[in-house]
């Protein structure tokens, strides 16, 4: 017992000495901290506070009325619908793409990775315009769609399409490094033990990637609900029909209805806060799993460098 005690004390002494060796003078420390706090305050906390303050500026009744208004409710419903379709689609696509990229070598693999990243690199407005050019009245498929009485642009399908496109990379991007780091061995083991492909996926692959997957889904959902640019182009801004929450907020704001605009905006801000909270929870939980990160660190020397980065990304 005595030995462990001294050892522990030595550890503390050593680490505090190490900290001293790399630390800065008191003035520099305070300067850096002040800059960081000021920056965070001005660019993050103040806007957030302004959103809620403005939302409640004319009282709770105005706030509630703004949310209960039929156009606002329609916007909320449409946002939920768009996210409700886009997120599951991208979930399935993301897993499939990450699986293909992480587990197999094929011609055009790096091209596929670039393609997945495309929605990140293209301006959302351009993404929206692309859909207008394809499905719009003057677009490539426009006349055909018109004769079959199908409406995509300035209608709900267009909004869902644009949302799906913009949120395309989130899940796949999150999973690719994770699946690559984990390698094939566990799946091969499952196969030699007689598991079918689906059994291997649901019992071995999925449990191993679940936290990364959840993380990707959370980010994907946040973006799906908050997307403005691409959706704005394809929506047509028809009140009560093709307005999502961000579009509804913009219209209210342009009509100088500040309190209602901020009331709806506060919902999105709340979503952001909930997302952050869930994200932190997922990170904490994935660290709790003894198997998630520690396993890679202790077990496979070969996979260690990549898996640490994957772990750090989730962490």
């Amino acid at each position: 017992m005595a030995t462990t005690f001294t050892l522990r004390n030595m550890g503390v002494a050593a680490s505090s000495r190490a900290a001293q060796a790399t630390t800065e003078g008191i003035f520099v420390r305070w300067l850096l901290i002040t800059i960081a706090v000021l920056f965070l305050g001005v660019f993050l906390f103040m806007p957030l506070a302004v959103v809620f303050a403005s939302a409640f500026a004319k009282g709770v009744s105005v706030y509630l009325a703004a949310l209960r208004e039929p156009d606002a409710l329609a916007a909320i419903r449409l946002t939920l619908l768009a996210a409700g379709i886009a997120v599951p689609l991208n979930l399935v696509f993301g897993i499939a793409a990450a699986w293909a990229i992480g587990k197999f070598d094929f011609v055009g693999k790096s091209f596929l990775i670039t393609l997945i990243d495309l929605p990140f690199s293209v301006s959302p407005v351009v993404s929206g315009l692309v859909y207008v050019l394809i499905f719009g009245l003057q677009g490539l498929l426009g006349p055909w769609l018109a004769t079959h009485d199908l409406k995509i642009i300035f209608a709900v399908p267009g909004i869902v399409l644009a949302t799906t496109f913009v949120t395309f990379p989130f899940v796949a991007r999150e999973l690719i490094p994770l699946i690559q780091a984990q390698g094939n061995e566990e799946e091969e083991a499952a196969l030699t033990l007689g598991a079918s492909g689906w059994q291997t996926f649901f019992r071995v692959t999925l449990p191993n990637i679940k936290w990364g997957l959840l993380y990707g889904v959370i980010l994907c959902n946040a973006r799906a609900m908050g997307e403005f640019g691409a959706v704005s182009v394809v929506s047509g801004h028809i009140r009560g029909r093709t307005n999502t929450m961000p579009l509804h907020i913009e219209i209210l704001y342009n009509e100088y209805q500040f309190a209602p605009a901020f009331a709806v905006a506060s919902l999105l801000a709340l979503l952001a806060l909930v997302t952050l909270f869930v994200k932190s929870f997922v990170e904490w939980k994935s660290k709790q799993q003894p198997d998630a990160i520690e396993w890679m660190r202790t077990n496979e020397p070969m996979a260690a460098p990549t898996s640490v980065t994957a772990g750090a990304k989730v962490a």
Binding site: E188, A189, T192, L193, A195, P290, D291, W295, M302
Partner: protein
């Protein structure tokens, strides 16, 4: 169940991993695939398991062609180099996995699975750790769990890829004796891959020495060690001194370079003496002595300037009272002569 690999060829891009390999493993044997890295031994094992498919050639189990069957259909137990335990499952769940994923009509009941897993836990002496996760086990324990998991499905063949490669020396030794013992008990046809010649010679019934995608020699440990078929086998199985020389009327003249023959002598087959005993010998100067361990290892410089390694017993060393920088005579007790370069066949 017997395993036959018939004219297996496998290429990865430009690299030929296996070149027309034929191998026959009789039922119930414990066979080692031994070779340096890149010799194709793991590829051969994975082709037998159905985790990899040959470009040409076939794999037969008990005479039946299994070449096109998947790993799932082959019913082989495979133990991976890094264990590949399911990290989100406990030891118990890991071992039970192969039984739980069976189709409903052949799946054992819960109680049967429970009993089977308990039996295997007892076999690997880890009954108390059934509810631990793999990350909470030591390397040796993980290896044993991996073995139990493979045995749970009652495979007809057990394949192990570098089973002790990632363990420290002591655990390695224990575990390989344990594997030998286990095999003596359950007699399942087993093939293991290793690059450690000592491991192969100690554990296996037969050793398959591989190099550059080809099989160099197949035989019992004594045979491949004492009667190596090729210079590679001689070189790979144990330490060796290599001399160039020529053969003239049954006599080997070493130290003359590039004369068409290569002479191999194991360090323990060289004797040191202060006087030449009438037979063949050469002079050398002692450069370094390492007397730690059961054998004393002496490094000397031969009269033509090359280093020579000699091993002798502690007794002999005591009698001789050898000192550094001393001039001595080295007497080869046995040597092996191969014609030409190192890759050619023996004469």
């Amino acid at each position: 169940m017997s395993i036959e690999a018939i004219t297996i060829t496998k290429r990865f891009g430009q690299f030929t991993a296996l070149d027309n390999v034929d191998l026959n493993i009789p039922s119930g044997e414990l066979v080692a695939l031994l070779g340096p890295s890149g010799s194709g031994k793991t590829t051969l094992l994975r082709i037998i398991a159905g985790l990899e498919f040959a470009d040409s050639g076939s794999v037969r189990f008990d005479g039946k062609d299994f070449s096109d069957r998947t790993a799932r259909e082959r019913r082989v137990g495979f133990v991976f180099q890094h264990y590949a335990l399911f990290r989100h499952m406990t030891v118990f769940e890991n071992i039970a996995f192969g039984l739980k994923v069976r189709p409903r009509d052949t799946r054992p009941s819960r109680a049967q699975i429970q009993a089977k897993v308990q039996e295997l836990l007892k076999l690997i002496q880890l009954e108390t750790l059934a509810h631990r996760y793999p990350s909470q086990l030591s390397g040796g324990q993980r290896q044993r769990v991996a073995l139990a998991r493979a045995l749970a499905v009652e495979p007809s063949v057990l394949l192990l890829d570098e089973p002790f490669g990632a363990l420290d020396a002591k655990v390695r030794l224990e575990l390989r004796r344990w594997l030998r013992q286990l095999h003596d008990e359950i007699h399942i046809t087993s093939v293991f891959v290793t690059h450690d010649q000592e491991e192969a010679l100690e554990v296996a019934d037969r050793v398959v020495v591989m190099n550059n995608g080809r099989i160099e020699q197949v035989g019992p440990p004594e045979e491949v060690y004492n009667h190596p078929a090729t210079p590679f086998v001689y070189n790979f199985l144990g330490n060796v001194n290599l001399f160039h020389g020529r053969i003239d009327e049954g006599k080997a003249y070493i130290h003359e370079r590039e004369t068409g023959h290569v002479v191999y002598v194991r360090p323990h087959l060289l004797e040191i003496d202060r006087v030449p005993n009438g037979g063949s010998h050469f002079r050398a100067r002692v450069k370094h002595i390492n007397s730690a361990g059961p054998l004393v290892k002496v490094e000397a410089i031969a009269e033509w300037g090359d280093p020579v390694h000699i091993e002798m017993s502690q007794d002999r060393f005591q009698n001789l009272q050898l000192a550094k920088d001393e001039s001595v005579f080295v007497i080869p007790k046995d040597l092996k002569i191969f014609a030409g370069d190192e890759t050619s066949k023996p004469q």
